[in-house]
């Protein structure tokens, strides 16, 4: 989708005349390249810090090189191994739960017959996407606090007989984060599936009705296969983001009691790099994250290619 860069127009030769004709384009292209080099490529040069014992006063040129020492330290550091586990765990849990929720929601919303009802539910479903994580975590904190609505409902239903402090038990944290992600993004993520469902040929449904297929059969044999390419490409795009999925909620909702399950790689980088001024260690952890993300994208892409599905590149 959207990546059809192949144009079969004859290649334009680089001639002086053509350059002169395109001077406006070339000038601005150069401006954008300079901008991109500064803001996106130059920081990559900072990766050198991960292989040094970087001291701000010595700079890149005079800091001592230490090879892979920082990486070795990372993998012997219990805290790092824990944050790695947390990042992966929450990343996968979020990915799976938001994915399933969005698909289920899109399919069920599509089955709603009332036009007004459908429109109203959909409009409401987008709302949380536009709220910042600060607002979402604040709301969540209220709802799950000991005097919050969740405890109240559970007490009324006699499921629990004493308020639960959800933010004090390590076991609740990952599900809470997954729920927060689902609450915020289900409606938004469903947009693309709803669009894909709309583009399924209505004749298929009519034919199935004539053959006596019920709703479940239609969902299973027409809707789901119809949106499968969309599901695949979204999955591909998001696999690379698994490690990126852990910062704001964890940073905002984490507390001393549950630190061992809530801290993620990004928080680790922030603590070591910015607060403790150990730039080298922070950078090394950041590089590790980038490299794993790229490997994940390449693997996902390769598997999609093997399975004959759409792929990213």
């Amino acid at each position: 989708m959207a990546r059809n860069t192949k144009t079969n127009a004859p290649a334009v030769k680089i001639t002086w005349k053509e350059v002169k004709r395109q001077k406006f384009l070339l000038f601005w292209a150069a401006v954008f390249v300079i901008y991109g080099v500064i803001f996106y490529y130059l920081p990559l040069g900072g990766w050198i810090m991960a292989f040094q014992n970087y001291k701000p006063k010595d700079g890149f040129l005079h800091s001592k090189f230490v090879g892979f020492d920082k990486f070795i330290f990372l993998f012997q550091d219990d805290t790092f191994l824990k944050v790695l586990r947390n990042t992966l765990g929450m990343g996968i849990l979020n990915l799976v739960s938001t994915f399933i929720m969005a698909i289920v929601f899109a399919i069920l919303l599509n089955e709603v017959r009332s036009k007004i009802g459908k429109k109203a539910v959909q409009t409401i479903s987008y709302l949380p996407h536009f709220l910042s994580w600060i607002i979402v975590t604040g709301i969540l904190h209220d709802a799950l606090s000991t005097s919050g609505i969740v405890n109240e409902v559970l007490m009324k239903l006699n499921i629990i007989d004493k308020e639960v402090n959800f933010f004090a038990h390590p076991g609740f944290f990952w599900p809470i984060v997954a729920f927060a992600n689902c609450w915020k993004e289900t409606g938004w993520n469903a947009i693309i599936y709803l669009a894909a469902i709309t583009s399924i040929d209505p004749c298929l449904y009519e034919a199935a009705s004539i053959d006596g297929a019920g709703r479940w059969a239609k969902i299973r044999y027409i809707t789901l296969p119809g949106i499968k390419p969309t599901i695949m490409i979204l999955l591909l795009m998001n696999v690379g983001n698994v490690l990126n999925a852990g910062f704001e909620v964890q940073y905002l909702l984490g507390n001393g009691l549950i630190k061992s399950v809530s801290d993620t790689i990004d928080i680790y980088v922030l603590t070591w790099g910015i607060s403790q001024n150990d730039y080298s260690l922070g950078t090394a952890a950041g590089i590790f994250k980038s490299v794993v993300s790229i490997i994940l994208i390449v693997i996902a892409n390769y598997m999609a290619k093997r399975a004959g599905e759409e792929r990213l590149f």
Binding site: I134, G240, G282
Partner: protein
């Protein structure tokens, strides 16, 4: 697709589906409406609990407190400014870049596209970026909110896809009439791109409005460049520190004022989300269209 006779299984399905949708709407809206009720309720009274959708002891004091806070007002001003300047800046840059790479005759179109697509997958990470901004003297200024994120490969690709869909003859006939590339961009392509411009502007504006991390990381010491969300975050952590326990909240309430951190935060939350809530329903068709052309993701 109308069925002549709906079976029992069908009826059960419809009933369950309706229940699901109602539950979905309640879970989505309730926390927001509850915050709204608390924001209009007397702070100390709210500590007793039991406020759901309507305030019990109505007051505007929470909002007065929010409006009376200097840092909140500064935050609102900076947030508004960064949203406007940031959106205009990002839109112009991304549109121009997309225009360049979508020209069929442009000499380096695939190289330039690749140059930007790479930035979607590889980035320096928090520390090198932080050091770079510091060396460029961007930290401690307003511009750190606007300049670094001006071009994003994702938004550029959304715009490029749309521009590639426009007929080439538009450009060719304008050039026969002697129009330069700037004229083609500003007078011919841009007016046709209004819907996709609206989409990208919306994405950037929401991002700018909701940002807080950059304020915390780069301008922590500069209270004159604080943002609304960052101020809200400080309120949130002050609430969390004296979390839950009614004793603490009552102690806070023992001071003369009838506001508590919880009620003030509720008011600030509502004030912060209000502009977005009022606007987004009207922009629906733009973001729906934008997501569908752009492929995916935020």
């Amino acid at each position: 697709m109308k069925k002549k006779k709906s079976s029992i299984a069908d009826k059960i399905f419809v009933a369950c589906n309706t229940l699901f949708m109602i539950a979905f709407v309640v879970i989505t809206l309730y926390p927001v409406l509850n915050t709204l009720a608390i924001s209009f309720n007397d702070g100390i009274d709210a500590v007793r609990g039991g406020i759901y959708l309507v305030p019990r002891k109505f007051t505007l004091e929470n909002y007065q407190t929010v409006l009376g806070k200097q840092n909140m007002m500064t935050g609102a001003y900076i947030t508004l400014l960064r949203t406007i300047i940031g959106t205009v800046f990002a839109l112009v840059s991304n549109a121009l870049l997309a225009f360049i790479v979508s020209r069929k005759r442009f000499l380096f179109k695939s190289q330039l596209s690749l140059f930007w697509v790479i930035t979607m997958y590889v980035n320096g990470g928090m520390i090198p970026v932080f050091l770079l901004y510091r060396n460029l003297h961007l930290t401690g200024t307003f511009w750190v909110y606007v300049v670094p994120g001006a071009v994003s490969a994702f938004n550029m690709l959304v715009l490029r896809t749309y521009m590639q869909g426009l007929p080439d003859s538009l450009e060719e006939s304008a050039q026969l009439d002697g129009a330069g590339y700037w004229t083609v961009f500003s007078k011919i392509i841009s007016p046709l791109c209004k819907p996709v411009y609206a989409t990208v502007a919306l994405f950037v504006a929401v991002y700018q409005w909701n940002s807080w991390f950059d304020a915390m990381l780069y301008n922590r010491m500069k209270s004159e460049y604080t943002t609304l969300q960052y101020e809200l975050m400080k309120l949130l952590s002050s609430v969390m520190q004296q979390s839950g326990s009614a004793a603490n909240a009552a102690a806070a309430g023992a001071t003369a004022s009838a506001v508590t951190p919880v009620s003030v935060r509720a008011a600030a939350t509502i004030a912060t989300m209000l502009p977005i809530i009022c606007l987004y329903p009207f922009l629906q068709r733009y973001f729906v269209a934008g997501l569908t052309i752009g492929g995916v993701k935020e």
